[in-house]
Amino acid sequence: MRRRRTSGIVRPSGPGAVMLRGLLFAVLALFCLYYLVPLFVMVATSLKSLEEIRAGSFLSLPREITFDAWGKAWNAACVGVRCDGLEPYVWNSVLMTVPAVAISTILGALNGYALTKWRFPGADIIFALILFGAFIPFQVILLPMARTLGQLGLAGSVPGLILVHTVYGLAFTTLFFRNFFIGVSDGILQAAKVDGAGFFGIFFGIVLPMSLPAIVVTVIWQFTQIWNDFLFGVAFTVGDSNPVTVALNNVVNTSTGVKEYNVDMAAAIIAGLPTLLVYVVAGAYFVRGLSAGAVKG
């Protein structure tokens, strides 16, 4: 971490200031607890056996750590009538999320690039219309989209879901990239044009490598949105093509037998883990990108 220019500013001192700081830290600690306790409960519960859960307290540490619940959640829990665990649905989600994130990010980057650096009459109106897409409540488009997918022959399939997520992600990805590219100096584009590069030559050769921070933000955002989506998944897929979010709901809501809290918790963590992973991995790139690529031209 580089030392900030503001870190040397003289701060007020004296008993009043100390008390205020103490208060500040107390509030911060409270909020930390508020966020961390549920996570703790989930992890702890997932590592306990069912007997221990029934006997002990919600908040206690597991006496004996067992990964049985995780194993069951992964490949044996019943989703509806099928008892193969979450594994196939996790792959569904991966197969849906990766292409949808990649396509919507690339198209968003192209949109943002064209809207800022290859201006054409009406560019602002087009951008306003695209942006409008970010404000459409998704339940509004469920029926027309279902019909569209039906006519395209993509109803109830993973490719259909990819299409839906790509289309509805474009509003956000375009916005992110447009706002990033607006800060990229036009001089660089002019230099590249004089250097003989065309639309795609400049895009892939110059602009895209510069936009690593925007790419990371967009990928994190899109991945989180698409992976965590439940509404489109439940509306546009059936049974075997369900994404993991829908499958998780089915695991938890399976009414037969005893309620296996540890399996439910493990399943929920499995369903949420990839977004966390993307954030940690991409976030590191993000910080590195900022310090390595933040170069004034």
Partner: protein
């Protein structure tokens, strides 16, 4: 080979805003033409029109005899250096320099030779693997120059390439650019708002104002024979003194400053007076360069000298010369004297002016009389 450039009635509108208002300009092969003018007068726009980075609203552009009105920048055989350098931040210095050759699929061996020659010439061969962000301003400037030079184009276009450098580096690079031009002999169009840069670099200067070219001439002519008050006032630092007043015909032609109650009358030099047919009492502006006003008796006597006395208002030493500000009829004037001749403020001072160098302008139109 160098190519000439011809502009014919070039106009550019941005929306309803006319930024280039009909410009004709002929640039010979190998010339170094500087477009100079105040900020916002349209210099960059005109340069971009030559480069093909802006589309003409009307008129024609010829490069090397070819009409290039609709030719994209990459096919105009030009290279350009930008004010912000516009280096590609994610590419190394070497990649920055070779990008233009890569897109043109120039053979690798040729690229390497060009990189070697010009990075050595510009003394950036030690930084080839660095990114622009790891270079100082002066080094980035050199990389931008290198990127333009390696392509060996027919025409170089410069858009204020030195204005982001500090004063010392600016003077150094100015000299290097001049050397490079003398060595390569390529046609260059150079945009700047700095009149000293224009004077030092140009073989010809085009002074622009508000979308028009006011005057195109070699530096000496621009300085000594400005066609109007704008050109006269823009070139030179400190600027030309411009005194409002009237012509007086009284056994000779004289200039009487407006608002002056001491009866100072500048005699117009005989050669100039013979040309001027303006009537007695006509309102004019007298232009006197600061270096043509000096302490009386400090220069060898010459014709058309006029001596007058005024109290010193302000003394501004600059090192080699000292500027003395004084007043005539409520108008501030600056004289450039030797430091040892300066007097403290408030004391009377005898000034001598070389009226042979004085210019007269029409007070209404601003044009030279």
């Amino acid at each position: 080979m160098a190519a000439g450039i011809r502009l014919e009635s070039v106009r550019k509108f941005f929306g309803a805003n006319e930024v280039i208002k009909g410009i004709d300009l002929e640039i010979e092969p190998g010339e170094f033409v500087v477009l100079v003018g105040p900020s916002g007068c349209g210099k960059s726009t005109l340069l971009n029109l030559i480069a093909g980075l802006e589309t003409l609203s009307s008129g024609h552009v010829f490069i090397g005899g070819q009409k290039v009105d609709t030719t994209p920048p990459r096919d105009r055989d030009i290279a350009m250096v930008f004010q912000s350098y516009a280096l590609y931040p994610t590419k190394t210095v070497r990649q920055n320099i070779t990008f233009g050759m890569e897109t043109r699929r120039i053979p690798k061996a040729h690229q390497d030779a060009a990189v070697e020659e010009f990075t050595h010439l510009l003394q950036i061969d030690r930084f080839l693997q660095r990114k622009p962000g790891q270079l100082s301003g002066g080094q980035r400037q050199r990389v931008a120059m290198g990127r333009a030079l390696v392509r060996n184009p027919a025409v170089f276009l410069f858009d204020e390439p030195l204005s982001n450098l500090d004063a010392k580096l600016r003077i150094e690079m100015r000299t290097e650019i001049k050397k490079l031009h003398q060595r390569l002999g390529k046609t260059a169009v150079y945009v700047t708002h700095d009149q000293i840069e224009a004077m030092t670099l140009a073989t010809r200067i085009a002074v622009m104002d508000n979308g028009h070219i006011r005057q195109v001439a070699d530096p000496a002519t621009i300085y000594e024979n400005p066609v109007d008050l704008f050109v006269a006032g823009f070139m030179g630092s400190p600027p030309m003194n411009m005194i409002r007043g009237r012509l007086v015909r009284d056994g000779g032609l004289f200039f009487a400053p407006l608002g002056d109650r001491d009866g100072v009358r500048f005699p117009i030099a005989a050669a100039e007076a013979a040309r001027i047919g303006a009537p007695d009492g006509q309102e004019v502006v007298l232009g006197l360069r600061p270096e043509t006003i000096f302490a009386a008796g400090t220069e060898l006597p010459g014709p058309d000298r006029f001596v007058f006395e005024r109290p010193v208002a302000v003394v501004e030493p600059t090192g080699p010369d000292t500027m003395i500000v004084f007043e005539i009829g409520g108008q501030d004037l600056i004289a450039r004297v030797r430091p040892e001749d300066a007097h403290p403020p408030g004391t009377p001072f005898r000034f001598e002016v070389d009226m042979g160098k004085a210019k007269l302008f029409d007070a209404g139109t601003g044009l030279r009389i």
